[in-house]
Amino acid sequence: MKLYDQIFGVVKQFKKLFSPGPVTNADVSGSITAEIFLIVSMVLAVILLRHISPLLAGLVTLILAIVLISNIPLIPKFKIEQEDSLEKMLFYAIVVLALIVTFIYWGGSLV
């Protein structure tokens, strides 16, 4: 019952996602699909780490799956971070630039 309540709570939180305006069945089913797709695809993508180390892939997959499932609903959080705010776009652009430069400059010769 706890998982059922949790999923029901997720559906109720989708209301905020579509406000203002009515929430239709199609919107809720789309959001649930997005939620499941997001979790499964991210876990699947992490399995690629097996090319570095199978143990690392197993550990990261397990931890990520637990973190993602215990934090549902993810889509409202994701959508807030992906909105049209210039500040957020600039923030993520600069963070990604810093990560790419750091990763390639110090880790480029290792991969």
């Binding site: 797709f37 994701f78 990604v96 400059y105």
Partner: protein, 484 residues
């Protein structure tokens, strides 16, 4: 006729300038724009494959090292360029046809921007000079901003300004990366730089070389709208006129493949390069499709789907084999056609209803059956349903990732295709199949015939490419064999 190679850039560029200068003569402007737009797909068809050296400066052989140097800005025209320039030329013609038939009084500056964008992407895919590519990349960014700002949609100025501000981070980074390459090699010719790297004249693990990759790669993310630029890219598509959005997405795909092919020639010896491309492609696919599933504005939904589809192109290129690169480039061609069809089709719905919120629409199948059927087939093509072209390229990508030893990527690609199908079915149901809301007014609003005709032309090409993919894939495969 190799003389036609530079004309592929010069003709739209000159047309842009002339139309802008003489735009007050409405009738002449319309006729001139139509004739020039008609020439755009014809020039690459009539031109022979080959090289064009601006200024006539032929390559020089260094007798001491035995290395060939290219002093001139060089345009290289092969089957790949022919296909992509032909596709964008055709799309430009169709978009200008819609624009000219839609408005009695045409805007010279708007036509200027459309031709300027086409000239810029054509130059980017033809050039063998990395600085020349950057100049046209900047021109393209300005043209894209202008096309969005010139639309009459709410908040289009705001979105265009945001795109320009983000470009002020992406573009200088790319220029800095090109500067580092110039400092290392003393040349901006891509063939010269690539041969210097592959002959071992440059240490591929040197920090400056690696930093140049990081900076150019970041500029490429901005040009292609891959994360973290996926939000702004989908935003500018949704704030442009539908025909403008159709052309904008083709510009994005062309810029993406032009720059990534240049990077591939220079940096393919570094495994980290392919890792990065695959990483950002996966991210684009996941984010694009997940966010598309939650949209209620169907223009924004198509924008996010277009970003997700870019991930497929990147995946093919990131895997780095002949087959995967062919699949990625074929996917790029398919995306140009399919997304253009969807933007124009959904634009026709906006034209008929003046509404973009899927919750306020419904029952349009009875009112616009032709548009709905063509949109349905376009959506199925994007989702990868056989026998359409999207199926062929996505099947090739799945096979390529399997043969490279990455079954996870194959599963992910199939999952993204299924999710794309869900997005499309959901949107199609809410717009066309569910009962029409009482407050939705459709009186005296019809879909322009030009839009239906253009959709029909694009659909025919989509079906032909789906049934006969070899028409394109054999030529692309030969091109890829040349750069590997």
């Amino acid at each position: 006729m190799n003389e036609l190679i530079p004309l592929m850039v010069i003709v739209p560029l000159m047309a842009a300038l002339l139309i802008s200068a003489f735009s007050k003569f409405n009738r002449i402007t319309k006729i001139f724009a139509f004739v020039v737009a008609l020439c755009l797909p014809l020039i690459p068809i009539l031109s022979n494959y080959g090289l064009h050296y601006f200024g006539g400066y032929e390559p020089m052989l260094d007798n001491v090292t035995g290395v060939m140097f290219h002093p001139a800005i060089t345009y290289s025209f092969t089957f790949l360029q022919q296909v992509f320039i032909g596709a964008v030329g055709l799309l430009t013609f169709l978009v200008i046809f819609i624009y000219l038939t839609k408005y009695k009084e045409v805007s010279g500056p708007y036509l200027f921007l459309l031709f300027l964008g086409t000239a810029a992407v054509t130059a980017m895919i033809l050039t063998d000079d990395i600085f020349h590519m950057f100049v046209f990349f900047e021109i393209l960014a300005l043209a894209q901003v202008g096309i969005v700002a010139a639309s009459s949609i709410d908040y289009s100025y705001e979105m265009a300004l945001k795109y320009m501000i983000l470009g002020s981070i992406g573009s200088p980074m790319m220029l800095l990366g090109i500067g580092f390459l110039l400092a290392l090699t003393g040349s901006v010719n891509i063939t010269d730089i690539a041969s210097a790297v592959h002959m071992g004249l440059i240490d591929a693990t040197s920090p400056v070389f690696l930093l140049s990759l990081a900076l150019i790669f970041f500029g490429w993310l901005y040009a292609s709208g891959l994360p973290p630029f996926h939000t702004i890219k989908s935003g500018i598509y949704s704030k442009a006129e539908p025909h403008g959005a159709a052309l904008l997405q083709s510009f994005t795909v062309m810029a993406m493949i032009s720059i990534v092919l240049i990077m591939f020639r220079i940096y393919s010896s570094l495994p980290i390069f392919e890792v990065l491309i695959v990483f950002f492609s996966i991210l684009a696919m996941i984010l694009g499709v997940s966010l598309a599933l939650t949209q209620t504005d169907f223009r924004r939904m198509i924008g996010f789907l277009a970003v997700g589809e870019l991930g497929f192109i990147g995946l093919g290129i990131g895997l780095g084999t002949n087959f995967s690169l062919t699949a990625g480039l074929f996917q790029a061609l398919n995306e140009i056609l399919i997304t253009a069809l969807l933007f124009i089709g959904f634009g026709a719905i906006v034209n008929a209803t003046n509404e973009v919120d899927t919750r306020k629409l419904g029952g349009l199948l009875a009112y616009h059956p032709k548009v709905s059927i063509m949109l349905l087939i376009g959506g199925l093509a994007m989702a990868g349903v056989p026998p359409l072209n999207g199926f062929q390229s996505k099947l090739m990508l799945v096979q390529a990732s399997l043969s490279c030893g990455f079954p996870e990527l194959s599963i992910l690609a199939i999952m993204v295709s299924i999710a794309t199908f869900v997005v499309f079915v959901k949107t199609y149901y809410t717009i066309f199949l569910k009962p029409k809301p009482n407050d939705l007014e459709l009186e005296n609003r019809d879909v322009p015939r030009s839009m239906v005709l253009v959709m029909g032309i694009l659909l025919i090409i989509i079906v032909i490419l789906g049934i006969f993919p070899d028409m394109v894939t054999n030529g692309i495969s030969s091109f890829v064999g040349g750069i590997l």
